[in-house]
Symmetry: C2
């Protein structure tokens, strides 16, 4: 048998059931915040990424010529498609609050938490430059982390690129690129390494330390800092998650223009769990009208990692039963019984092999069912079902008119 | 702005909301029948399709060399991946009842109901050769059509390839390929064209007519026919949908080995809405252990077509509200109110632009919200909210402790 490609994943029922519930939870939380779902193509013209030429991402794309000779690519991220969708329709009432949960592809070296194919939730507000929008997307992110049960294990680190730019202008001779480089990697380095990098980049290490620790803000004030503090206050009002202003959070240099944020495990041992921020220039760079935008993305692999780490990656119990059939009358009768069970919200997995009752019970046990409903001519005549508990071995007869007893 | 590729689709919220509900319904119905969800890669090695060489599908694949020089392809159908998944894990307890709802890609000429990228639900039972499995997948298909509200507009046409083979052997000199060709296209031809094709293929037109009409069965009996009748009886027991034995339904020649079925609109004006059947040889052809299998597939585009035709492609009303905020106190207060609303299952779209109340009401109306919750210092102090109905213009004050009144 031909093998699966490297960096790709199969999801068998036991894993997929967990994923399905988690994906649904994330989507449901987005909708509860008034975000609407969108969906788009998995393949786009390479031209849509021409502004990225020279950046690492273009070397990591699954790009190819289609049968019509077009240069196309599997999408490596959402923003270009989102920008296209926003710009194509002139009738859209803004601000838009949109989310999507779709697949992306990057030809990277697979490692823990990184695959060549992955799912990512994207949630964005388009058409508002207010701090209210910054707070709203961040609160949604906090709410999703809460609904996944991990909010107490993580913290939100927020910052502003405008604030950072003015700090770097004032205290670090406006050496933005160099300063962002060292602040972004701050935790990866030892004290010694930081000094070495600072020397190389000709940056004052003491100033950098004042920034990284946040102490520089003690003697600093600006309207942007006030706005950021208001944003943080709103997110904190939502509650249940730690929120910190952290000047080391800068994120992608060419992308973000204002508010930025990340979620990290409190020990900062893993990679960022999610990240986002304000990107007011991207849509116009892509050829659309200038549209202020703020959003975040969260990938499936990192969620799986942290939830497994916290022991939360477990299947929810459902109310499924297995229906075993003894004879032809039982088979006919099972259609009615299964229908009634479904109407009661009970999933029923009916026997589909011609085999005896003991083989059927054996199968049900192997499949992990706790209860089996047994049907034969006897039950049909008596308008009842026999419910056998596979754990206790006990069985009882329930009248078909009282089938709802099975739910309780 | 760079354009979307031909044959691909964007789904904006108004469409996506309908699609999301329909997709969820289909998946939920599968689970209610005891089918478990699986998911797999969108890209597979070309080798996985080597048994298809020479068939049309290989000319329609989005295939390319990846950055590692591998010949890969976007998946054009599900069975090869499914076969790989079944064969890789030796510990699986069979029969398996699996479904998936994922994207597929084919480089075909786009037309009504056909796109280069589409979603398809696949549901399969693997590891049972019983007619019970045939009936179970067909009943699931019937149940899905019922849940979409279209079961009264469609009919199921079922047949058996084993039955057909023996009829063709006995009555049409065993000319299988020729007979299947003309029966498969029966409805596309006029009476005259049929005669011409029959002549070309050296087939007796009167015998063909006896087969196409089903009249040949009047003087025919076989164990396979008896089994097929039992299958049909079980599907009919489920009820609510027409089921017919139809000897013109033969489906893909190289694929199916026994039971086959399709769903058609009653007037047979559109293409088949869904189709499936038994494919006992495919998994072993792909290099796995011999595994009897039966299943069906249903695409998103044809569902959309028939539901639009029946006027069923409409958004479900939801209980979303817009939250307008008058002042800073209202903004702070809105976090609590939104949280309480979400807990009540009401989606709340909060204002995220710094603008006056009339602009906010205007926006809410344009977005289609029927109700707006207005919050300011006044409401905060009085521990209440003002609910304004945008249709009637009426507004009322509700205490925050009685917010559940909004649900009713």
């Amino acid at each position: 048998m031909v093998e699966r490609l490297r960096g790709f994943r199969d999801f068998y029922p036991e894993e997929q059931e967990i994923r399905r519930v988690i994906f649904n939870t994330m989507k449901e939380r987005c909708r509860s915040f008034g975000f609407k779902e969108i969906d788009g193509p998995s393949i786009e013209s390479m031209q849509l990424y021409s502004h990225k030429v020279g950046q690492q991402i273009t070397t990591q794309m699954f790009s190819f010529k289609d049968k019509g000779g077009r240069d196309v690519t599997l999408i490596p991220e959402f923003t270009p498609s989102l920008s296209r969708m926003v710009s194509t329709r002139k009738d859209l009432v803004k601000p838009l609050k949109w989310y999507s949960l779709t697949k992306f592809w990057r030809y990277e070296e697979p490692q823990s938490g990184r695959f060549r194919e992955f799912y990512q939730l994207n949630a964005d507000i388009l058409g508002s430059e207010s701090y209210l929008a910054d707070a709203e997307v961040t609160t949604l992110a906090a709410d999703i982390l809460t609904s996944l049960g991990i909010s107490s294990k993580v913290k939100l680190r927020v910052n502003s690129r405008i604030l950072m730019d003015s700090i770097i202008e004032r205290f670090l001779e406006n050496k933005k690129e160099e300063s962002y480089f060292i602040l972004d990697g701050w935790n990866k380095y030892t004290d010694e390494e930081r000094m070495k990098v600072a020397e190389e980049k000709k940056l004052d290490i003491d100033t950098l330390k004042l920034i990284a620790s946040g102490n520089i803000l003690k003697e600093y004030s600006s309207p942007e800092l006030d706005k950021l503090k208001m944003t943080i206050e709103l997110i904190k009002n939502y509650g249940g998650i730690d929120v910190e202003l952290d000047l080391r959070v800068v994120r992608g240099l060419a992308y973000y223009t204002g508010f930025v944020f990340e979620a990290w495990d409190k020990e900062e041992k893993m990679r960022a769990i999610l990240g986002g921020g304000r990107y007011d220039n991207i849509i116009s760079q892509l050829g659309g009208d200038r549209t202020p935008a703020v959003g975040f993305a969260i990938g499936d692999a990192v969620i799986e990692n942290i939830m497994k780490h916290e022991g939360l990656w477990v299947r929810k119990q459902d109310r499924s039963v297995f229906i075993a059939t003894i004879d032809k009358k039982g088979i006919d009768y099972s259609i009615l019984v299964a229908k009634k069970l479904r109407d009661l919200g009970v999933n029923s997995d009916k026997n589909v092999v011609e085999r005896g009752i003991s083989k059927q019970l054996e199968y049900a046990a192997k499949m992990g069912y706790e209860r089996v409903i047994i049907l034969g001519e006897n039950e049909f005549v008596r308008k009842s079902v026999v419910v056998k508990n596979l754990t206790s071995g006990k069985q009882e007869e329930i009248k078909i008119d009282h089938l709802e007893d099975i739910v309780n």
